[in-house]
């Protein structure tokens, strides 16, 4: 038992891999035994992860249940795992989704189901390993190895254009990761003089904190950020996602949306921003703008989709924009909200993909125009779908609301980020880098426009995308010209030496724009609900559709429970998340040379909002309780009052 306790994380990571190997002993063409075995194994996995949760001490902000063994000492590589408040819920999400996915394969996977289960189990090992690794080499290993099973899942069990989608998925992700590999190598080898070569996350954190890498840090952050931005995916690196989602089998989509994308957001916080806080602060304005563009763009594109799965896929782009906004605001409330929202999105979108899978299995089409009036023949399905859709659009009382609200609230009051790089050289490099990114963005967007034109999509989308790309480029990095003082990012950078004003207004503005995404989400999800369930049951093929079977109901009940519980009582989850996330925010802010929060300067504020004058840490749970019951008008008024008032200074 002691051995088990000491190696709980190894067990949870490698049990699926062991299961995949054992699956080889099952007969090849008979799927039920393999499925049953995998289902059992994934349930055991889930139980072990509950055990991990039980062992987890929320108040401890460091790594817990740590395991560390020397692995390749010559290069300072160790096998080390650890869990903290950031990863705990993500690990639980991974282990919880897996049995449900396996349960869905009983009807959705017809051929090679044993191999399907094997790929799923290997994928699970990869994902858990990437979350739990506390050594950069180990992390990268899991991060890359994870691509292999997903590649097979899309490529073998996918739809019509599965090969294209699989290769696109693989190459996009790999190209980003390889630059991250160079960054890892650079970091590790540059810091090896400080007491030997090491890939250890904790050790590198310490070394980086006491080392000034100069402009190199910007490049390193950019390389990490690119890898994660592709994975998230952030606009404009999202183009692989709709293809991969639409072509992937149901289970693959669920895992892709539910967990894989979270690795990107997780990586931003754990690696990119944590290791290179100075550079992070430098890039945060532009990344935040990209995140908000992602929110709006994803939502708008989702609105015009005719294919239900594509709609859900684009909604992911939008929702993950929210998560990124929350992370980047670097404010305890919003960042905790972002972490919670990762879990919420995993649940809601995972369930949505499973629901899409259900009607796809029955009708072999996902075109919205093929459906209508399904509520009459599939009442239970309709109820589940609507609950999940409501949770996804952030209805108060369901899970999506909590996360999104915390993100917006936090981002709105984010203390902002003064520019810490103050020499002209750094500013120049920054401008150069940003313009490079903008160029890439424009190229990607124009390619997208081109393909839209070919596909004869709506003119509005076409014009919108085109105008957007130009506007974005100008807003971001337009060079100063005549009366135009330069883009949002070039302008402050060029006059950087004296400018230490926080980007506070930008955050307030951006979160206000981002809030539009919530409304858009309601629009596209309600469009989908309407097209599926209401109206006349006109299509003959839909007359005899069967409602959810017992097995299918069994899949969705846990989702509904999770959605409601997390919406009504998110406290246990927040308790696990918050201390760690606060520590992350504090570390990043300190590393970047930003001050911690001060008390409000104006007494007036004190009177208006008495609750506000304490530290931000105490905010979230209380506010959520209050706001859950408030009507919308009151909510907005409240937001207005809570305009940022705290003053920030450099140390």
């Amino acid at each position: 038992m002691d051995i088990l306790n000491a190696h709980l994380l190894s067990l949870i990571t490698f049990l699926p891999l062991l299961g995949a190997v054992l699956l080889l002993t099952f007969p090849r063409h008979e799927g039920h035994g393999a499925r049953g075995f995998t289902l059992g194994l994934s349930l055991v996995e889930f139980l072990i992860s509950l055990l991990v949760w039980q062992r987890f001490v929320p108040s401890n902000t460091g790594m817990q249940l740590v395991e560390k063994v020397e692995w390749i000492p010559t290069l300072g590589i160790s096998y080390s795992l650890g869990i903290d408040g950031l990863t705990l819920l993500l690990v639980l999400l991974t282990t919880a989704l897996m049995p449900l996915v396996i349960l869905s394969t009983y009807s959705s996977v017809e051929k090679y189901s044993r191999e399907y289960c094997m790929a799923m189990l290997v994928l699970q090992t990869g994902m858990l390993g990437a979350f739990l690794a506390t050594d950069l080499f180990l992390f990268y290993l899991f991060w890359e190895a994870m691509l292999i099973p997903m590649y097979f899942l899309i490529g073998i069990w996918g739809g019509q254009r599965r090969i294209y989608a699989a290769i696109k998925f693989f190459l996009y992700t790999m190209a980003g990761s390889l630059l991250m590999l160079v960054a890892i190598i650079y970091t590790v080898w540059t810091l090896k003089d400080q007491g030997g070569i090491t890939f250890s996350w904790a050790e590198l954190t310490e070394r980086l904190a006491s080392t000034n890498l100069g402009t190199a840090e910007l490049w390193l952050f950019a390389a990490f950020a690119l890898a994660f931005a592709i994975k998230v995916p952030m606009f404009p690196f999202h183009t692989w996602l709709p293809d991969a989602h639409v072509e992937a089998p149901t289970g693959g989509s669920v895992i892709l949306a539910g967990v894989l994308l979270k690795l990107g957001t997780f990586g931003f916080l754990r690696y990119a921003m944590w290791l290179f806080p100075k550079a992070a602060v430098f890039f945060i304005p532009s990344l935040t703008i990209l995140a908000v563009i992602g929110i709006i763009y994803g939502a708008l594109v989702a609105m015009v989709q005719k294919d239900l799965k594509r709609l859900v896929a684009y909604s992911s782009v939008s929702h993950l924009g929210f998560v990124m906004l929350g992370l980047l605001a670097l404010e305890p409330t919003s960042t905790s909200g972002a972490v919670l929202q990762m879990v919420n999105h995993g649940i809601s979108t995972g369930a949505l993909f499973l629901l899409v899978g259900v009607i796809y299995e029955r009708r072999h089409t996902r075109e919205l125009s093929e459906f209508g009036g399904l509520a009459k023949v599939m009442p239970r399905y309709a109820v589940f779908f609507i609950i999940i859709a409501l949770s996804s659009m952030g209805l108060p009382g369901l899970n999506g609301f909590v996360g999104e609200f915390m993100i917006l609230l936090g981002a709105f009051q984010s203390p902002g980020l003064p520019l810490t790089f103050s020499t002209a050289e750094l500013a120049q490099t920054g401008v150069y880098l940003l313009q490079l990114f903008a160029l890439i963005a424009i190229i990607l967007v124009s390619r997208k426009v081109w393909s839209l034109q070919n596909a004869q999509r709506g003119q509005i989308t076409l014009i919108f995308t085109f105008v957007l790309s130009i506007v974005v480029a100008l807003i971001l990095v337009g060079p100063p010209l005549a009366s135009f003082k330069g883009g949002l990012l070039t302008q402050p950078l060029l006059s950087v030496a004296s400018d230490t004003e926080p980007f506070r207004e930008i955050f307030a503005l951006l979160s206000a724009i981002g809030a539009l995404g919530v409304i858009f989400a309601a629009v596209y999800l309600l469009i989908a609900v309407q097209a599926l369930f209401y109206g006349e049951l006109s299509n003959q093929k839909n007359q005899n559709l069967k409602d959810l079977s017992g097995r299918e109901t069994l899949i969705f009940v846990p989702f509904i429970l999770a959605v409601v519980i997390l919406g009504v009582y998110p406290k246990p989850c927040l308790d696990a998340i918050q201390p760690t996330v606060n520590a992350y925010v504090k570390h990043i802010r300190q590393g970047a040379g930003l001050t911690t929060l001060q008390k409000p300067a104006k007494a007036k504020v004190k009177k208006t909002v008495p609750a506000r004058n304490s530290t931000i840490k105490s905010l979230p749970s209380r506010n959520i309780k209050e706001l859950k019951v408030s009507p919308r008008g009151k909510l907005l008024r409240r937001l207005d009052i809570t305009k940022p008032n705290r003053v920030f200074k450099e140390k």
């Binding site: 090849r28 692995w71 390749i72 000492p73 010559t74 290069l75 090679y112 080499f137 990268y140 290993l141 890359e144 190895a145 691509l147 292999i148 590649y151 097979f152 490529g155 073998i156 599965r162 090969i163 699989a166 290769i167 693989f170 190459l171 790999m174 190209a175 390889l178 630059l179 590999l181 160079v182 190598i185 650079y186 590790v188 080898w189 540059t190 090896k192």
Partner: protein, 495 residues
């Protein structure tokens, strides 16, 4: 003298085994056709290679024997092991091939062993003459192996092409050797082609123009042997035409041996002059970049699997040159051990990939070469073969956990350490391009329907060869510590 002879026993064991195999083949009388299968010959070859490899593995004391003309040291043991491993794996996979295509076994085994002897001489050569003799021994055997399919025009073309190009390359290298010999005489008054004397001559004296011309001619000769761009033109045709086991052997062993000799040459002729100039390093970088870019991009367009693997082998020579550039920029054992590790891993993966090709080249369809599309559906129909091929392809693409990934990490790490960051960025981008064509093989094998009858060669020899390659690719990739630290200590003591 006796000590000298004992010291080179890893070489002589293989030479004796080669002679024995050829004698036993002849002793069978004038049986026609010559025996295509003979277990005892296989065993002799495998045992000899195993014994020699064991001796190299247990290498402890460095020795410079035959008045410093043969160097039995860290480089010899590190790289010799790779060549021997390449030969061993090539023989394992060749047996089934010879049976299937009704080719004489004795000569084939003998030639592979003789070529291995040549490789070991190349790696251990302490003077330029021994180097030349080694290269010729190694190459002559391979010219014959390339043309081993006597009734295939492609094979004949391959042999001819390889021979002609090879002859030119050898002639150039030989002329370069002559120039260095003269240069040494000019500087010291006593002309010599021994590395020890060349080193001492170049350490003190300023190398003249003719000396540099000589060096670049010899480097060109090496460039030909490792198929670096722009000396790679022969590779695709030869790889395609030669019998597949010979191709596997050629891709793995020749590369390892030539790189080892190149390292020794650079060390004793260039590095002794002090830290190499920036322009020299840049020249190596340029070679690396050209080789990676050309290899990877041209490989994308290939339809024949052997040609694709040929260009992939060109690309991998480019990655090794990244390691060599790092070594030039910052001489030390870090970069070199990365290079040795990478070449070893490359041997597993590439021999494995060719072994899969062998398994698919069954007799009734051969002669016309195997295209990538012929693999369609085979991954599903033959899971073992598919699994192995996936391991090799992902490994060659540098995806962890495989020997290809760790090798790249070790080499690129050394290059970053030496401050060659742009080079490393180009290298990783090139390997991203490379991933595309490796993935295509997997796409075809697993994601496309089986369009013909999936007939493959089944043989315990081939299966064990495949299994060995796949297992080593994964094992050495995930647990590299013992092998990697052995290489480091070997090369550390050498430098």
């Amino acid at each position: 003298m006796l000590n000298d002879i004992l010291a080179i026993s890893p070489i002589t064991i293989i030479a004796i085994a080669a002679g024995l195999i050829l004698l036993l083949t002849v002793a069978g009388g004038e049986k026609r056709p010559a025996p295509i299968q003979s277990t005892h010959l296989n065993l002799i070859a495998i045992l000899a290679l195993g014994w020699s490899g064991y001796l190299l593995w247990g290498h402890s004391t460095d020795a410079a024997v035959f008045s410093e003309r043969v160097l039995i040291d860290g480089v010899f043991s590190a790289f010799g092991l790779i060549s021997i491993l390449g030969a061993l794996l090539a023989i394992l996979v060749a047996i089934a091939y010879l049976q299937e295509h009704k080719l004489a076994a004795g000569e084939f085994l003998g030639l592979i062993l003789l070529s291995t002897v040549g490789m070991l001489v190349v790696i251990g050569a302490g003077d330029l003459l021994n180097l030349f003799i080694g290269i010729e021994t190694m190459s002559l055997a391979i010219y014959v192996l390339a043309g081993y399919l006597r009734d295939s025009k492609l094979s004949q073309e391959a042999a001819m092409k390889y021979f002609l190009y090879g002859a030119f390359a050898s002639a150039f290298a030989l002329f370069g050797i002559a120039l260095l010999y003269g240069e040494c005489g000019r500087l010291t008054g006593a002309a010599s082609i021994k590395y020890s004397q060349l080193s001492s001559a170049f350490k003190t004296g300023e190398l003249g123009l003719l000396g540099w011309i000589g060096i670049s001619m010899i480097l060109g000769g090496f460039g030909f042997k490792v198929a670096a761009v722009p000396f790679h033109m022969w590779a695709p045709d030869v790889y395609e035409g030669a019998p597949t086991p010979a191709t596997a052997f050629m891709a793995a062993g020749v590369k390892a041996a030539s790189f080892a000799a190149l390292i020794r040459f650079i060390d004793s002729v260039i590095l002794v002059q002090g830290q190499p100039s920036e322009s020299l390093i840049q020249a190596f970088e340029l070679l690396a970049i050209m080789t990676m870019v050309v290899g990877n991009f041209v490989a994308i367009r290939q339809t024949q699997i052997k040609r694709m693997l040929a260009y992939s082998s060109v690309a991998h020579a480019g990655y090794v040159f990244v390691g060599l550039s790092a070594w030039l920029a910052q001489p030390g054992h870090e970069a070199l051990s990365g290079v040795a590790y990478y070449l070893c891993g490359y041997t597993f993966m590439t021999v494995g990939a060719f072994a899969v090709v062998i398994a698919l080249e069954h007799r009734d369809k051969t002669k016309a070469n195997l295209s990538i599309d012929d693999l369609s559906g085979h991954g599903i129909a033959h899971p073992f073969l598919g699994l192995c091929m996936s391991i090799f392809m992902f490994g060659l693409a540098g995806i962890p956990p495989s020997v290809g990934f760790f090798g790249k990490l070790a080499m690129f790490g050394a290059a970053v350490d030496a401050g060659r960051i742009p080079l490393v960025i180009i290298a990783v981008l090139a390997s991203a391009v490379g991933a595309y064509y490796y993935l295509r093989v997997i796409v075809v094998m697993f994601m496309q329907p089986l369009n013909k009858e999936a007939k493959i060669i089944r043989s315990p020899w081939l299966q064990s060869g495949l299994l060995t390659c796949a297992a080593l690719t994964l094992l050495v990739g995930t647990l590299p510590e013992s092998y990697f630290s052995m290489l480091r200590s070997l090369l550390k003591s050498w430098l």
